[in-house]
Every structure is written in structure tokens, then in C-alpha cells.
């Protein structure tokens, strides 16, 4: 699929913006701080409902305004119009999602329709950061492929907070500990489902990742393993473990096992963690490879090509890896790059492309090439 048109209103530094993209390669060129990435951010919100920069919606709304709006016309077999509107009231942020003018009231029904994969410098956190970054990355990919996974995650989060609240109440106000029984039953059922989906996903993803990693870099590709705190995806076993750990959980007021504690481990054949031996360059390669593999697995499972958004990623990699990545990705997907310097020599490999320049903050003009 590809974005034909993007409209934004009161979004970051843009009061209004209307861009028409090429279904092939697009470059957005401009100095730091003029608003290149904001264009990608609008597309990522239209795709993922939230910003890839992990920002609150209130920060995305243009100064002195109380709402933003973005919409995109996306070509696939048919044109589809995606709209996200976000308004700020005194005590809450309200978001409205529409597809083809029809309001969609559940995230699980919206997410996974407009497929984008974003490559940006903070991707390195998936490798270097806390387990939370890895869970979030894999959760987002699995949810794209499987709407019931996203729904189960939502239910699970509510069950987990209910259980944790009850654990604290038992400790602090002497509530009857037997009240945990029903929450343990609900918890283990959802946890089993989520872990099961993660395990079968990672079994497929692992192979793609290793294949692409060895293609981009010459060194040994790390393996990805799911580290499961409950040691099983069987609901009965999880329930039993919760019962065994109940005293401890009450003492700490939190749940010690489950998908919320699990991690995805990258390691070499000798079981040494990737982060213990890998150089900065190797880590960057691994982060990029995760995204490349995401593109492919989504394409295989949904039979649709994702739109590739590249936020200033070229500045971080050497020329050899850069061209390898482009070779891997250039398979007919629409690509939108942001970059600081316009370098026609480096771009010659793309053949036809469309360029935009962002000059004084908030003004975009089309580049004639």
C-alpha cells in the first residue's frame, strides 16, 4: 500500500499541510528542527494511533490550539481514507478514529489497517533498553498481524492492574486473600494465550531475523529467544505457579510472573548476550534488522506491502550497510525518507523519486528533480 495524500491541521509546527507523495521513493530534506520528522510522525499516528516518538498527544497539538487532525488517502486495491482527530478538553485527551468516514471505536479494529514500518534512531533502544522496549516492539508487530492479540493484551492489562490492586489491598487493609482465586484464573487464561502467541510468532520471526542480519552484516547473527517468567504457556501451570507465589506477591504488592515480566533475549551460539559483546555498529545493525524483518513478516502474513518511513536513519550507518539495507528493502514498497543533506549522488540508485524541502519551520515545497 502507499500514501497518496497527507493532510494535517494544527499538527506540531504545521497549521495546515497538504502533501502528495509518489508511490515509490520520497525524500523530505531540511535542516534540523524545521519539522521533517513531524510529517513522518503524522503518518505513524494515522497508522499506529500513537506517535513513534512516544509523545503525549497534548505535545503534538500546535501551540495555542486545542486539537489536531490528520488524514491520509491510502492506495491499495482501492483508495481508503484514514483519519485521526485529537482534541484536548480540561481533563482528558479525546481521540477519534475514522476509516472511510466511518467512526471506529476500538483500537483493535483500527490498528493494522494502514501498515507502516518506521526506522528511526531510537530503535536502538529495542536492543539496548529495558525489556519493556522489546515487549512493546514485539507486541506492536504481533498486534498488526493478529487483532485478537491486541484485544487480549488490553484485557490482560486490566486483569493485571486489578490483581495488583487486590494484592496491595490484602497487604494493607487485610482483605481476604481467597479473593485472588478468580483473578488468578482470569490472569492465567489470558497470560497463556498471550505467551502462546508470542512463542509461535518468535519461532517464525527468528529465522527471518537471522537471515537478514547475515545479509546486512558479515558477522554471526544472534539468535532471539523468548524468556518466559512463567516457564510455560499452559494456563493450568501458570495458575499453579501463581498459587505457589501468592505469599510473595502479596508481600511485594505485585505479580511476579507473566507476560508483563517476560523478555526477548538476543544471544550468540555460546549463549552470551548480544549486548555483552556487540559493538555500537552491530547493535545498530540488529535494530535495523528487527525492522526489516517486521516489514517482511507483516508482508507474508497480511499479503500487503508496508509503507517504509525512514527518519534520519542514513546518518547512523556506514555506506556499505546503508546500501545493503536499501537493497533488502527496495522491493516495491513506498518509502519516505527524511534527511538533512540532499545528496543526489547517493540517491542516484533509486532512479525516480520525489523530493520535498522543508525550509523555514512549517513550510514545505516540492523539489523539482
Amino acid at each position: 500500500m502507499y500514501v497518496e495524500e497527507l493532510h494535517v491541521k494544527n499538527f506540531r509546527n504545521y497549521a495546515r499541510l497538504h502533501l502528495t507523495f509518489s508511490p515509490g521513493i520520497n525524500f523530505i530534506i531540511g535542516d534540523n528542527g524545521v519539522g521533517k520528522s513531524n510529517i513522518l510522525e503524522a503518518l505513524s499516528i494515522l497508522s499506529n494511533i500513537k506517535s513513534f516518538r512516544n509523545m503525549h498527544d497534548a505535545e503534538i497539538i500546535k501551540w495555542d490550539e486545542d486539537s489536531y487532525f490528520c488524514s491520509a488517502v491510502v492506495g491499495d486495491n482501492d483508495d481508503t481514507i484514514f483519519e485521526v482527530g485529537c482534541g484536548l478538553t480540561a481533563d482528558a485527551v479525546k481521540k477519534r478514529l475514522k476509516i472511510d468516514g466511518k467512526e471506529i471505536n476500538s483500537a483493535a479494529k483500527y490498528y493494522g489497517r494502514l501498515l507502516t514500518v518506521i526506522f528511526s534512531p531510537p530503535d536502538i533502544n529495542i536492543i539496548n533498553g529495558t525489556p519493556d522496549f522489546r515487549r512493546r516492539f514485539f507486541d506492536s508487530v504481533i498486534s498488526k498481524i493478529d487483532g485478537s492479540y491486541l484485544e487480549a493484551l488490553g484485557d490482560f492489562k486490566r486483569i493485571l492492574s486489578s490483581r495488583n490492586k487486590l494484592l496491595k489491598d490484602i497487604k494493607n487493609t487485610g482483605r481476604d486473600a481467597n479473593q485472588l482465586d478468580v483473578w488468578d484464573a482470569l490472569f492465567s487464561e489470558k497470560a497463556g494465550f498471550i505467551i502462546g502467541r508470542r512463542l509461535s510468532f518468535i519461532a517464525k520471526f527468528r529465522r527471518l531475523f537471522q537471515y537478514h542480519y547475515s545479509n546486512i552484516a558479515a558477522d554471526e547473527a544472534p539468535a532471539i529467544r523468548y524468556q518466559c517468567s512463567s516457564e510455560s504457556d499452559d494456563s493450568g501451570r501458570i495458575f499453579q505457579k501463581l498459587t505457589e507465589l501468592r505469599k510473595r506477591d502479596i508481600l511485594f504488592g505485585s505479580t511476579s510472573i507473566g507476560p508483563q515480566r517476560d523478555d526477548y533475549i538476543l544471544e550468540n551460539q555460546k549463549k552470551i548476550r548480544f549486548t555483552n559483546y556487540a559493538s555500537q555498529g552491530q547493535r545498530r545493525t540488529a535494530a535495523v534488522t528487527l525492522k526489516v524483518s517486521e516489514c517482511e513478516i507483516v508482508e507474508v502474513e497480511k499479503n500487503k506491502k508496508s509503507i517504509i518511513l525512514m527518519d534520519d536513519i542514513f546518518s547512523e550507518l556506514d555506506e556499505k550497510r546503508r546500501s545493503k539495507i536499501i537493497d533488502v528493502l527496495q522491493r516495491g514498497n513506498q518509502m519516505i525518507f527524511t534527511m538533512v543533506h540532499f545528496d543526489p549522488v547517493a540517491l542516484h540508485r533509486f532512479g525516480g523519486y520525489k523530493g520535498f524541502t522543508v525550509e523555514t519551520p512549517g513550510t514545505v515545497s516540492e523539489l523539482s528533480v
Binding site: 483493535a108 485478537s148 489491598d169 482470569l186
Partner: protein
């Protein structure tokens, strides 16, 4: 818009009611202003009467004009069947079908640790008494399919189990008149789980 302090006061009161914003509130207030005085008086009286003269039924927890509600009083109803609902509104909804002839039990809430509601805050003592009386054959759980509804259903199943009473739950899945083609995943999964045998 400070034309009358009385008008403002009533608009404020109305807008505190569920589902009523300031616009509807002022429409209602102006409508009341245009009504004949005796009708306004009888409207006011009806509200006060409702509050003063209704009780919580000592058996089922529903709304009653005396200690025991009309449904619990009715000898023609099937006393071996109890339908458990979240609140008294649900009784009206199910009664509206005219199909159900059993009794009710109103929990007045659902177990929800995030809202600080535990089993001790629900109307459960009399439910246990009723189940233990030997007259009840089946308890139907008619709670919403939310996380809190599921947790409450599981809790009730545990609570009632020792009395040897059958516990059932209303079906979750495709709504009547809906098309499978347009149903979401969760609904289809629930429908498959709750499938019913039609032969052999």
C-alpha cells in the same frame, strides 16, 4: 446568561443527571417553565415519592414498594430459578422480554478491585441463603462480558458450588440478526466457545 437564579439552579441540577449535558438541561428547564403549575407539582411529587416510598427488596435486592418486591411476592413464578444481574435496571430489561418466569437476584455492582469494590460490597449474603434453602435448582448468571463481569461470575460459581445448585451463564457471542461476516474476532471466538449442540 444570568437571567434567573432559579433557572440557573435547575439547569445545574439537571446537568448532573446521567446522559444530560448543559444544552439538554436548559431545554428541560425551559420546558418545565412552560408546563402548567399542577403538572410540575405532580412531577416533583412523583420524584419525591419514588425516593421516599421505595425500598430495596429484602429477598432479591431489587426495587420494591414494600419490604418484598412484586416479583418475589408472585407465587406464579418459578422459585427454583434465580437470574443474577448487576443492577435493578437489568431486571426491567429482562422482564421487558416477558419470557423469563423465574426469580432475580440483584448484586448492586460487580467485583472491581480498581474501584475498590470487593465481594463484601455486593448483595451476596441473601444469595447464599437462597441457594442454601433447597428450593433453588439453577442460578443463571446474566452479567456483562467485561473483565469485572467475568471475575464476578467466577466468584459466584465458586460461592454457589457447595450448595449443589447448577450455575449457568447467559450465552456470549453473535447478537441476534448479526452477520458472521461483519463480526469481530473476539465475538466469533466467544461464539465458537459457546456453541450449542443441535443433533446427536
Amino acid at each position: 446568561m444570568k437571567s434567573s437564579s432559579y433557572l440557573d439552579a435547575l439547569i445545574k441540577k439537571f446537568s448532573k443527571l446521567p446522559g444530560i449535558g448543559t444544552k439538554s438541561a436548559s431545554r428541560l428547564a425551559f420546558h418545565i417553565l412552560s408546563m402548567p403549575t399542577d403538572e410540575v407539582e405532580s412531577l416533583g411529587r412523583a420524584m419525591v415519592d419514588l425516593k421516599k416510598n421505595t425500598f430495596t427488596c429484602t429477598i432479591c435486592g431489587g426495587i420494591a414498594d414494600s419490604e418484598v418486591c412484586a416479583i418475589c411476592h408472585d407465587d406464579a413464578r418459578d422459585r427454583s430459578l434465580i437470574c443474577v444481574v448487576e443492577d435493578a435496571k437489568d431486571v426491567l430489561t429482562i422482564e421487558g422480554t416477558g419470557e423469563y418466569r423465574g426469580m432475580y437476584h440483584v448484586l448492586a455492582g460487580l467485583i472491581s478491585p480498581l474501584d475498590g469494590v470487593g465481594p463484601e460490597n455486593l448483595n451476596l449474603r441473601t444469595l447464599a441463603q437462597r441457594c442454601g434453602s433447597g428450593a433453588v435448582r439453577e442460578v443463571i448468571l446474566a452479567l456483562n462480558p467485561s473483565i469485572e463481569g467475568e471475575a464476578t461470575s467466577l466468584y459466584l460459581a465458586q460461592l454457589i458450588n457447595p450448595f449443589g445448585v447448577t450455575v449457568t451463564r447467559i450465552a456470549h457471542g453473535l447478537p441476534v440478526g448479526a452477520d458472521i461476516e461483519f463480526a469481530d474476532n473476539a465475538t466469533i471466538i466467544k461464539s465458537l466457545e459457546g456453541r450449542v449442540k443441535i443433533s446427536r
